[in-house]
């Protein structure tokens, strides 16, 4: 597994946002510590439900919801939870949030629930959620945890969308169900098969690595 360099990358746009502590908690999840592209977490939903942009978005938002809920609960209860049963308690809290989300989606649309399949329930075990609860919410204030969850959740959603959009356009010629390519377009079925998910993510990572490498090369040349 790749070891990520820890130095903070200063991008022009993001830099301007990096003022207050809250915005920093928020921004880091979007890019610098992106859960998918950088931390390589929560890979199962990332790969499994991103065969359409809609599913990706729904999954992202569901995760975002659970992440915020659990981060809020954990950080507000953090002084109340004894250390020995910490993990068990967090799991309890997360499972509750997920169950809530699960029923909410079922109530909203059965079809969507069917498309996401077991992966809604599997948010419980998304390493990202427990990871944030442990690494962040259990040590930080409620407001900080909120921003952290929002940033991480949006970062996750963003990454899912990156995959979902590419896979849907290539795989079916549509975007959010609307045709974006001419009817004669030959869809690449692989993109909506399991293998396609792996390939797409691999290619995204290749692109990012390539960009990083080029930047590093430029920096060295200077």
């Amino acid at each position: 597994m790749e070891i990520q360099t820890t130095e903070k990358k200063k991008g022009g746009f993001f830099e301007s946002l990096q003022n207050g502590p809250a915005t920093d908690e928020f921004i880091k999840g979007l890019w610098r510590e992106n859960p998918v592209f950088v931390q390589v977490l929560g890979m199962c939903p990332t790969l499994a439900v991103t065969n359409s942009a809609e599913n990706a978005l729904a999954m992202g938002l569901a995760t975002l919801f659970v992440l915020i809920m659990s981060n809020l609960l954990v950080s507000s209860l953090r002084n109340f939870i004894p250390k020995q049963v910490r993990i068990a308690t967090y799991i309890l809290i997360i499972a509750t949030c997920v169950t809530v989300a699960d029923y909410a989606i079922q109530a909203y649309s059965l079809d969507l629930h069917k498309a996401l399949g077991a992966f809604i329930a599997l948010i419980v075990v998304n390493c990202l959620i427990l990871g944030r609860a442990e690494a962040f919410a259990s040590k930080n204030t409620v407001s900080k945890s909120f921003w952290d969850a929002l940033g991480m959740g949006l970062g996750f959603t963003f990454a899912l969308l990156c995959l979902g959009v590419v896979r849907e356009i290539f795989g079916t010629g549509t975007l959010f169900g609307f045709p974006v390519l001419p009817g004669s377009f030959q869809s690449w079925i692989i993109m909506i098969l399991p293998g396609g998910g792996l390939f797409t993510l691999a290619i995204w990572l290749l692109v990012f690595n390539g960009a990083k490498e080029r930047k590093a090369k430029k920096a060295r040349a200077l």
Binding site: L77, Q84, G171, T172, I189
Partner: protein, 209 residues
């Protein structure tokens, strides 16, 4: 320590129950609607659905609870209260994973009159033609499942054949390029109809409004 954990456990239970209670009616409604939609799809003309349960003595009785392990069929009636047919669930292995389907049987004409895929993981673009391919779906507008004289078995078993070679009313014309999935459908229907059709036909009078 106990207090903390049990307290949180109770808190969680509360949260879940509240959500459950709150969403239950909506979900129930959604589910019923979805099922009805499917039933009406395989029983063209039906507007009302009644669920029946198959008892061990091969008799049918109306059923209104949450389903557990019962064998159910759904009777569809038209506006005049006339029995259109029965929707039957069946499943079996497809190309990738298990296929769950619903098909409609009309005791009156002794044919299958509709077909709908409830759940499939077949390859998009290929296997999912079983849901979309018009020619294939047409197979099920009048698929012969008439019984022998003795009324205890089918005269001709449903039989999937290669695309373009359908000759008899009990054959299913498969899809080129998705032979495997369409054959699987044929096989599922063959096995299911073999079981259900004689039972239903012999009790067709149990289904009344």
């Amino acid at each position: 320590m106990f207090r903390a954990m049990v307290g949180i456990g109770i808190l969680c239970a509360l949260l879940i129950v509240v959500t459950y209670e709150f969403t239950l009616p909506i979900i129930k409604k959604n589910k019923t609607e979805a099922l009805e939609k499917a039933v009406f799809k395989v029983l063209p003309g039906a507007t009302k659905k009644i669920t029946y349960k198959l008892n061990d003595d091969k008799s049918f009785e109306e059923f209104h609870q949450e389903r557990q392990k019962e064998q159910l069929v759904y009777a569809g009636f038209d506006d005049d209260g006339k029995l259109v047919g029965l929707a039957i669930e069946a499943s079996g292995q497809g190309f990738q994973d298990v296929l769950n389907i619903l098909y409609g049987y009309s005791p009156e004409s002794q044919t299958l009159i509709g077909f709908y895929v409830l759940e499939s993981k077949e390859t998009p673009g290929l296997g999912d033609k079983i849901e979309k391919d018009k020619a294939f779906l047409d197979n099920f507008s009048a698929l012969d499942v008439s019984l022998e004289e003795s009324l205890d078995a089918l005269k001709n078993l449903v039989n999937p054949v290669k695309h373009g070679t359908k000759k008899n009313p009990w054959e299913i014309d498969c899809i080129t390029g998705a032979t495997i999935s369409s054959k699987a459908i044929g096989k599922i229907i063959k096995e299911s109809s073999q079981y259900w059709v004689p039972i239903i036909y012999n009790h067709k009078d149990s289904f009344k409004q």
